[in-house]
């Protein structure tokens, strides 16, 4: 498994990764796997001990993971690491990062080339809507860039 970091946070490897259903039984679990149909609010009772939430994309066209990441960040104020795995494309790198995803498990095929992911992360100098990242305005209007 090769990890790629979308931002500054260093990706952590966890040996134990459980499902949402298993979370209640496993006091030692610090990492949980969220399927795209799972409601992130199910994690509420466990947020204090969780260090990693892995969002699984069954197919890259299934965009529920983007909303899950934002809900974790914006509503649940989850401060641990958020990771995407499964069928994801480098073309989604900036989208994932802007929704609060910190790292990805690189795909094993041609889409797993880290150079592609790196390039896609820096493809667009500005964005036209706010994201979860710290940003400053690049007027006029709605444009923002990342505040470094």
């Amino acid at each position: 498994m090769k990890l790629f970091e979308l931002g500054e946070r260093t990706a952590q490897v966890h040996d134990v990764l459980v499902t949402v259903a298993e979370l209640a039984e496993r006091d030692d679990a610090r990492a949980v796997l969220l399927e795209s149909a799972d409601d992130p609010t199910l994690l509420k009772p466990y947020l204090n001990r969780l260090e990693l939430v892995v969002l699984r994309f069954p197919i890259f066209r299934d965009g529920r993971g983007f909303t899950q990441a934002r809900e974790l960040q914006e509503y649940l104020r989850f401060s641990g690491e958020i990771r995407a795995e499964g069928h994801i494309l480098p073309d989604q790198a900036a989208f994932l990062r802007r929704c609060g995803v910190d790292s990805v498990v690189l795909p094993k095929d041609g889409n797993g080339d880290p150079a592609l992911w790196e390039k896609q992360l820096r493809q667009f100098p500005v964005a036209y809507q706010r994201s979860v990242l710290p940003e400053r305005s690049v007027g006029p209007g709605l444009r923002v860039e990342e505040a470094s």
Binding site: R61, G110, N111, Q120, Q123, Y128, S131, V138, G141, L142
Partner: protein, 557 residues
């Protein structure tokens, strides 16, 4: 260059963004060619950039945000039609233009040419927020309360490469109007927005959700009556977030927001949206008056000056020339300035292909826009062209100029003003050819005096149940169906997209093409024979019910 009238003026940062998008797309094409991207992976990526694979060739759909172009942009579209297509383009019901005969390897070059005039194909297809449409008379119509274009531009920007909403369950269409007379089919959109003035000077927005045509036609329901401007983007984010999380992804025919709204009910949908809003950091999503003003400042406003006798000159010219008078009656709309008028140019010549324009016509339209309407052109969702600010005393000169290139057809809103999808001549999904029957109907009712006598009557033609020709919303709708390998058409009546939106009801069994044309002629005869003074086709249909029309349509069958 000074800012264009009617649409947002790009700056260097916007242009850099477009170049970055083109570079990204070119890389995607190359990855497809070298095999690192599978066709299943490439398809959604190319669709998000407007590139379809049709029956015979690639089709590139170019975005015309809120339907507004300047003459420089229109000229470029004409050049692309000439150089890369078969010398024509096709204007669509989402106010876009599509080129039907494109080679994949030419697309990066075409995108670069488009970018030279601040145009692109971003999000004209795919399961994302599509090109935002607006009232074709925006900023010009006398009946308008709020000019919706600044907010349409805000929605265009906000939805462009949205990080959360680019992989939705299905496509997502937004329309916005600022007039009490709905000219955008607000209730047939995933989100329809009607703006009106608020108490503090900023507009407030009435928001409909879950409308749509397609396989399952649904009239949108009101979600909120009065959303404040500062909360417009937050509210849209919340609506989309609920949809993205809960819209069905197991069946593409049940994936639109309308199915979700139907399944849980509009009250539950509203509660879900309010629950999102209550958790969101509204300050982060706030649309500030400063941001609105900054975007507004990048629109040029036309300086409307007309001689005092402009109205009188036009009135005299109408008296002197009955043909011109007929065109003025059908093809113009009242402007907010008494010395000006709104002119709609029909792209529906009798026997022609609805929405098609040759490169020569496109170039002439650009010249006429420069000469008569501040270089501004609007594309309508009924596949026509509008010059929004024509001086009344110069209208006849415009009309004469249009006639030289065959664009002076006097049929706007009349039976010849047919909306049709591309159909089986182009589209891989179609069951029937929409264009030939549109041409036959156009030829049957070619006499503009007869069209004027018949009055307001919209015909919409779709080649399959995906309903791109909006047949459900036609006063008379035609749906192409396949019967054992033959093309038949199912007739519906009573649909409407304007105020009092309604879905048409099926009149009876589907008919072959020629019999369909005859049946429509009999429907029209039935109406002409039984109408009471001042009644439109829809009025008579409402008063008498469907039965007399059903009998008339099928009497000879």
């Amino acid at each position: 260059m000074s800012a264009p009238v009617g649409h947002y003026q790009y700056d260097r940062i916007d242009r850099d963004f477009l170049q970055a998008r083109i570079a990204e797309f070119e890389r995607q094409v190359n990855r497809r060619l070298d095999g690192t991207l599978s066709e299943d992976e490439f398809k959604p990526l190319r669709l998000m950039n407007g590139l379809y694979l049709q029956l015979h060739a690639y089709m590139l759909r170019v975005a015309i945000p809120y339907g507004i172009l300047d003459s420089r942009q229109l000229r470029k579209l004409g050049e692309i039609a000439r150089r890369y297509d078969r010398d024509y383009g096709h204007f669509t019901t989402r106010q876009n233009i599509q080129f039907n005969w494109i080679r994949l390897e030419d697309t990066p070059a075409i995108l670069r040419e488009l970018a030279e005039v601040d145009m692109h194909a971003i999000q004209t297809s795919g399961n994302c927020i599509r090109n935002v449409t607006a009232d074709e008379y925006a900023g010009a119509a006398a009946d308008e309360l709020v000019d919706p274009r600044v907010h349409a531009e805000i929605l265009r920007q906000w939805s462009t490469l949205h990080p959360e909403f680019t992989f939705l369950p299905r496509k997502f269409k937004i329309a916005i109007s600022g007039s009490p007379n709905d000219r955008v089919a607000a209730r047939f959109h995933d989100i329809g927005i009607l703006a009106r003035p608020g108490e503090d000077g900023a507009p407030v927005f009435r928001i409909f959700v879950g409308g749509g045509l397609g396989r399952t036609p649904v009239i949108g329901q009101e979600l909120f009556d009065s959303v404040r401007e500062e909360h417009l983007l937050a509210t849209l984010e919340a609506i989309l977030r609920v949809y993205n999380a809960h819209g069905r992804r197991d069946n593409i025919y049940k994936a639109r927001i309308k199915i979700l709204v139907q399944a849980i009910g509009v009250e539950a949908y509203r509660e879900a949206v309010e629950a999102e809003l209550s958790q969101m950091d509204l300050e982060r999503y706030r649309l500030t008056p400063e941001a609105v003003a900054a975007i507004r400042s990048r629109f040029a406003v036309p300086q409307l000056e007309a001689p005092a006798d402009a109205d009188a000159v036009l009135a005299q010219q109408r008296r002197d020339d009955p043909l011109f008078d007929r065109w003025v009656r059908s093809n113009t709309h009242v402007h907010r300035d008494p010395g000006h008028i709104i002119a709609t140019i029909s792209l529906k010549p009798a026997g022609g292909i609805p929405g098609d324009a040759t490169s020569a016509q496109i170039a002439r339209l650009a010249d006429l826009a420069d000469a008569y309407s501040f270089g501004e052109i609007r594309i309508t969702h009924l596949q026509n062209v509008v010059l929004g600010h024509v001086r009344k005393d110069r209208l006849r000169d415009l009309w004469l100029g249009l006639a030289e290139v065959g664009l002076a057809e006097a049929n706007i809103g009349l039976i010849g003003d047919i909306v049709a999808c591309p159909g089986l001549d182009y589209c891989a999904l179609a069951n029937a050819r929409s264009i030939p029957i549109a041409q036959k109907l156009g030829a049957r009712f070619a006499d503009t005096a007869l069209q004027a006598e018949i009055g307001a009557l919209r015909i919409n033609i779709s080649g399959c149940i995906n309903a791109c020709g909006h047949h459900h919303a036609g006063h008379i709708g035609l749906l192409g169906v396949d019967k054992r390998g033959e093309e038949f058409f199912q007739l519906t009546v009573g649909g409407r997209a304007e105020n009092g939106a309604a879905i048409g009801t099926i009149l009876g069994a589907a008919l072959p093409e020629d019999e369909t044309v005859d049946a429509i002629a009999r429907l029209v005869d039935c109406y002409l024979g039984r109408r009471e003074s001042g009644e439109t086709f829809l009025d008579t249909l409402t008063r008498l019910g469907h039965e007399p029309f059903r009998e008339a349509a099928y009497e000879a069958v």
